[in-house]
Amino acid sequence: MAESIRDKVAVIGMGCTKFGERWDASLEDLLVEAGYEAFEDAGLTAKDIQAAWVGTVVSDRTGQFLANALKFDYIPITRVENACATATDAFMNACFAVAAGVYDIVMAAGVEKLKDNPYTGLAVGGANLTSGVEPAVPPPVQFALAATRYAHHYDMPMEELKRILAKIAVKNHANGAKNPKAHFRREIKLEDALKSPMVAWPLGLYDCCGVSDGAAVAIITRPEIAKKIRDDYMLVKGIGFAVSGRQGLLLDDYDFVHFEENVRAAKMAYEQAGITNPLQEIDLAEVHDCFTITELLIYEDLGFAPRGRGREHVDAGTFELTGELAVNPDGGLKCFGHPIGGSGLRMIYEVYKQLQGKAGPRQRKNPQLGLTHNIGGRPGSFTCSVAIFGR
C-alpha cells in the first residue's frame, strides 16, 4: 500500500508577485520578483535549491527559463504543464521528490505572462494542427454550458441562479479589495454584477475571472530540515489529482451539474488528510473560481454544501471571509487574477500566509487547515488538483 504524503513535506518559503496587467514585467521579472521573495522568506539563496519544477502553460517551453531567471547552477529542472492545475502539479511533483528523499530542498514555481499578446481573453491552442471541426469554444462559453444545465437541473429560474452567482462575485471582490497583490481591488455591488455585459450567456463580465500576469514560488523541504529554518513552516496534509479522458463529453449520461474530477481529487486529498467533514474541519479554501458557476459547483463537489444547495450557503454567508469556511479570502481568480500556470501556487501562498497569521486585513482567526483547488480544461474533460495544508 502506497503511503500518504501527509506530514512528509514542509513549505519553508514562498513568494508571489503582484498579479495583473504587468506591462512593466517580463517573464524573467515575474520569476525574479516571486523567487527572491521566497528566498528572503526562507533565508536561503539559489545555491540551496537542488532541483526545481516550473509550471507554465503558454509562456515558455523547457525548464531553462527558470534557470536563466534565478541563475541556478545546472540543477535538474522540469517544466510542467497541466492546464489550470499546472502550478499545483509542479508543486506536487516537487513534494514527491522531497518525500522520496532524492533531494533535501527544492523549488516549485508557476508563472504566466499572458498580457504580451493582443487578445482580450486567453489564446491557448494545441501544438498540432487539427481538422478544426470541433468548435473553438473559449472558456466562458464552456463553463456557461454548466450554468445553463444547473438552472434546468434544479428547476431554478435563471434570474435566481444569476443572483446567486452575482453574490459569489461580490464576495470575491470584497476579499480582493483587501489584498494589495490582487489584480482587481474594487468592491462591487450585486447590481453591478447583475447588470454587467454578457460575455457568454448566462455568464456576464463579473462572472468571469481576470486574465493576468503573475508568478508564485514555493521552497519545499522535509519537516526535520524545516524545523531548523523556521517555526512557522507549513505541512502538506494531502494532495489529490484527477485527470479526465473526456468522459463527460463522450458519455451522454454525464450531468454537467457536477465536475467528477473535483469529487475524485477531493476524495484523494481528504483521505490522505483524514478529513471527514470538510465544512467543519477546513478553515479556508482557495478554489478555482474561473467563473462564478465554477465556484458554486465546487462548494457542492468538495462537500462544503449538499448537492443543489450551494445557494443556501451563499445566502447564509457561509463562505464569506468571516463565515464558517472562508472561500477565496485573497479574492480568488476573480480578483487576484489568473495567470494560468501560476494560480495554483498563488493559492498555496495565501494558505501559507493565513496559517502563519500574516494575511493582514484578510486574516482568519487561528486557522488550522487550508485547502487549495484547481480545475482546468472544460466541463466534461478537466485536470483537477486538491491540496490540503496545516501546521
Binding site: G125, M198, W201, L203, D252
Partner: protein, 468 residues
C-alpha cells in the same frame, strides 16, 4: 424507360423581403446562411430526395453548380460523403452554365439508359453573388434540388428530350470574379432567353409529337419575372398551365432553378399528368415527362413546399452583407486567427467529420463521438461499429451563447447535443432564433461550412432546431 424515381429540394431558412430593414425590393428571395454554400445546400437537397431511400443504393452522383467552392477539387465527392453515398460510385461536377442542372439530368438519363448505373442522383445547387443593390441581387435566390434517375418504378418517365446551344454573352461570370455580369436588358431578353426558348420549345414539340395543350404543366426557368411573362406570351400557353416561377418568394436559384421548379410541379402532379420542362443558359434543355401511378407512393418529405413554408425573415440587409462577406465590421474582440485545418487530419477523420459517424461499442452498446479505440464505458478495445448520427433526432442537453466569438453570427450558440439511441456531441447551432432556445428542445443535423482557411473549405455538421 428512364424516369425520376425520387426528388427533393432545399431552400435556406432565411429570406430577404418586406420587413427586412434596408431591403428595398417589394419581393422576397431566399438567402443562404453564412455557413451555407452550394455544397451544403446540395447535401441538404440530396438528403431530402433520399427520404425513405437507402443512400447506399445510389450508383452515381452528378453535381451541378456555377458556385462550387473549388476550381480544382471535386465537390461531388464531398457531397457524396455528406449524404452517406457509397465510395465506389461515379461522381462528377457539371458546371459553368445555368443549364448545368438539366445538363446533369440529361447525362443521368443517358447513364441509366446505357445501363452503366441503375440509380443516378442529380443535385443542382447555387448561391450566386450579385453586386449589392443591383437588380440581380433582388432577383437571385439561393437553393438546391435533387432528383434520382432510374428505370425502376419511376414517379415520372422522361419520354422525350432535346437540347440546343445558343452562343451569346448575355450573363456571365469570369473565372476570377465573384459577381455575375450581364449585358443590356432588352438584348438579353430578346436575343437570349426568348429567342432560344421559342426556337427550342417549338422544335422539341415537333420531335416529341406534342402540342402545348398536351401538357398539364409547362415549367421554364426564365431569368426574371418579366422574362417569364414574355415567355408565356410568345409560347402561347395558358396561364393555368404554367408552373409558378416563385420569383417573389424564392428568386432565380441558378443551376438549381429548373430542377427546383420541376420538384415543385411534381409535388402537385397527378398520375397521367404531362410536364414540359425547359431550362435556359447558353441554350436550352427541353424535357417531356409523364407522371406515373407510382407518384402517389412517394414518402412525405419537406421538398419545395415544406422548405418554402418554413422561413424566417432576415431582420436587416446589413446582416446579409455580413453573411456574404461584403461588409466586415470590426469585430471588436481580438481572437487568434483560425488555424489552417490539417489536411492529414481531415483525411483520417473523413468518416466522422463528413458522414458524422460515431462508434457504437459492440460489447456494451455505448455510442461515442468522436469514435474511440477503447470504449470509455467498458474498456473493450477496437470492438465497435459505425453509427451515423447525421440522420438521428437529437435533443439540446445544454447550451451557451458566445458573445465574444466574432461578428458574423453573434451570439454563437454552443451546444451539448444528446442523440436518440445514444451518443453526445459538442457542436454549434445554426438557423436558430436565440429567444426560442430551450434545454431539451428537439434538434436535427445540418451539413455546413464551418469556415475557410488557406483556401480549405472546412465542412462539418451543426445542429438546428427542427424545421417546421
Amino acid at each position: 424507360m428512364a424516369g425520376i424515381v425520387s426528388y427533393g429540394a432545399y431552400v435556406p431558412l432565411f429570406r430577404l423581403g418586406r420587413g427586412t430593414a434596408g431591403w428595398d425590393a417589394p419581393t422576397e428571395r431566399a438567402v443562404a446562411n453564412f455557413d451555407e454554400d452550394s455544397v451544403t445546400m446540395a447535401v441538404a437537397a440530396l438528403r431530402d430526395a433520399l427520404t425513405g431511400m437507402d443512400p447506399q443504393s445510389i450508383d452515381a452522383l452528378y453535381f451541378a453548380s456555377t458556385t462550387q467552392p473549388y476550381a480544382e477539387k471535386q465537390s461531388a465527392t464531398t457531397i457524396a460523403w455528406g449524404a452517406n453515398l457509397r465510395p465506389d460510385i461515379f461522381t462528377v461536377d457539371c458546371t459553368d452554365s445555368l443549364r448545368a442542372g438539366t445538363n446533369a439530368l440529361k447525362l443521368a438519363m443517358d447513364s441509366v439508359k446505357a445501363g452503366s448505373a441503375a440509380r443516378v442522383a442529380v443535385v443542382a445547387s447555387d448561391a450566386r453573388l450579385a453586386q449589392p443593390r443591383s437588380a440581380f441581387e433582388r432577383t437571385f435566390g439561393d437553393g438546391a434540388a435533387a432528383v434520382v434517375v432510374g428505370e425502376e418504378n419511376p414517379l415520372a418517365t422522361i419520354e422525350g428530350h432535346l437540347s440546343f446551344s445558343h452562343e451569346i454573352m448575355d450573363t456571365w461570370r469570369p473565372a476570377d470574379e465573384e459577381m455575375v455580369r450581364a449585358w443590356e436588358d432588352r438584348f438579353r431578353l430578346e436575343k437570349g432567353f426568348i429567342e432560344a426558348l421559342q426556337d427550342s420549345v417549338s422544335k422539341s414539340l415537333q420531335k416529341f409529337g406534342t402540342t402545348p395543350k398536351d401538357y398539364t404543366k409547362v415549367i421554364f426557368s426564365a431569368p426574371d419575372a418579366r422574362a417569364h411573362r414574355e415567355a408565356i406570351r410568345v409560347l402561347g400557353v395558358e396561364a393555368s398551365q404554367v408552373q409558378e416561377p416563385l420569383f417573389g418568394a424564392l428568386g432565380h436559384t441558378g443551376t438549381g432553378f429548373p430542377l427546383m421548379l420541376l420538384t415543385a410541379a411534381l409535388e402537385e402532379a397527378k398520375p397521367g399528368d404531362r410536364l414540359l420542362l425547359a431550362s435556359y443558359g447558353d441554350g436550352c434543355d427541353v424535357f417531356s415527362l409523364q407522371v406515373t401511378q407510382d407518384a402517389a407512393r412517394l414518402q412525405p418529405r419537406r421538398g419545395m413546399k415544406g422548405h418554402l413554408a418554413a422561413k424566417k425573415l432576415l431582420p436587416n440587409y446589413e446582416q446579409y452583407l455580413k453573411w456574404r462577406g461584403l461588409h466586415q465590421p470590426d469585430p471588436g474582440v481580438r481572437r487568434p486567427a483560425i488555424p489552417t485545418p490539417s489536411a492529414t487530419a481531415l483525411f483520417r477523420e473523413r468518416e466522422r467529420n463528413l458522414r458524422f459517424e460515431a462508434a457504437k461499442c459492440r460489447a456494451c452498446g455505448t455510442v461515442q463521438y468522436p469514435p474511440q479505440r477503447v470504449c470509455t464505458r467498458c474498456g473493450e478495445r477496437d470492438k465497435y461499429e459505425p453509427v451515423r448520427l447525421a440522420d438521428r433526432p437529437a435533443k439540446l442537453f445544454t447550451y451557451a451563447l458566445d458573445y465574444i466569438a466574432g461578428s458574423v453570427d453573434v451570439p454563437l450558440v454552443v451546444c451539448i447535443v444528446n442523440f436518440d439511441g445514444g451518443g453526445r456531441a459538442l457542436m454549434t447551432m445554426t438557423d436558430r432564433v436565440v429567444e426560442q432556445l430551450e434545454v431539451e428542445m428537439p434538434l436535427e443535423m445540418s451539413f455546413r461550412k464551418l469556415y475557410e482557411a488557406e483556401g480549405i473549405h472546412n465542412y462539418f455538421w451543426k445542429c438546428t432546431p427542427v424545421r417546421a
